[in-house]
Symmetry: C2
Subunit: 142 residues, 2 copies
């Protein structure tokens, strides 16, 4: 078990979808490809649906699809859609009383905020369509 594999799972799945946006994929099929469980897939992709990146349909012939063109979905969209906060997570406890800790808190907090934004900027420069193309489409149906 890895810590925080949600982003990998999401990016990997959407990059595949970018290779064939029309195709409807079930959480079960996706889970098999990713080596995990269908419920886990639905949990992760559910967040991206709320973020407007994916559509899901219930019932027979239901499943998952991109909600918009893969050229218009960046890696940053996926990252922020998951509300990950990989860097600037607030385990920098509550407001400290000690003046040294207080000073450190704000210095580090500021740096982490900058870093978080830098990461998003870097991720924003690549779309899932580019990933799909770069991968060479070895499996055009996936």
């Amino acid at each position: 078990m890895k810590r925080n594999s949600r982003l990998s799972l999401a990016l990997h799945t959407l990059a595949h979808m970018a290779g064939n946006p029309k195709q409807m994929r079930t959480s079960s099929d996706i889970a098999a490809h990713m080596g995990t469980n269908a419920v886990v897939v639905r949990r992760v992709l559910g967040r991206l649906r709320e973020a407007g990146l994916l559509k899901s349909e219930k019932g027979h012939s239901g499943g998952w699809q991109l909600a918009r063109a893969p050229e218009k979905i960046t890696l940053a969209d996926v990252y922020t859609g998951l509300e990950e906060q990989l860097i600037a997570r607030n385990d920098l406890q509550e407001q400290p009383v000690c003046s040294v800790e207080h000073t450190l808190y704000f210095r580090i907090f500021g740096i982490m905020q900058d870093m978080e934004q830098t990461l998003i900027d870097k991720l924003a420069s690549t779309t899932i369509a580019e990933i799909s193309e770069a991968a060479g489409q070895v499996h055009p149906n996936e």
Copy 2:
């Protein structure tokens, strides 16, 4: 309990030490101030001793001290001394077979490596002496 409080603990402790470098501090006293256990303190500070930032002495009147002037210890020294890898940790599994995953892996890996270096650069611009001064030395003996 917080996840990865080692860096906070280390920075906080060293910033205090910067305010009065001559003073010898016991892991017990430090632990009391930080709200943790003496063994935890020794574990964390032990890494910084190996990194050459601290000296420790056993026996009566033993304890911990900075190994060099606080003006010559940056936040980056502390970070790298702990070998933290806050960002670029390798929970990006082994070499993937799937071409899409492979492509993603290298793209993300490259970004994370850049981020890690960026973080170190940012931390390197501040010394623990500066933190101590900015904190206003409310408690000159700590």
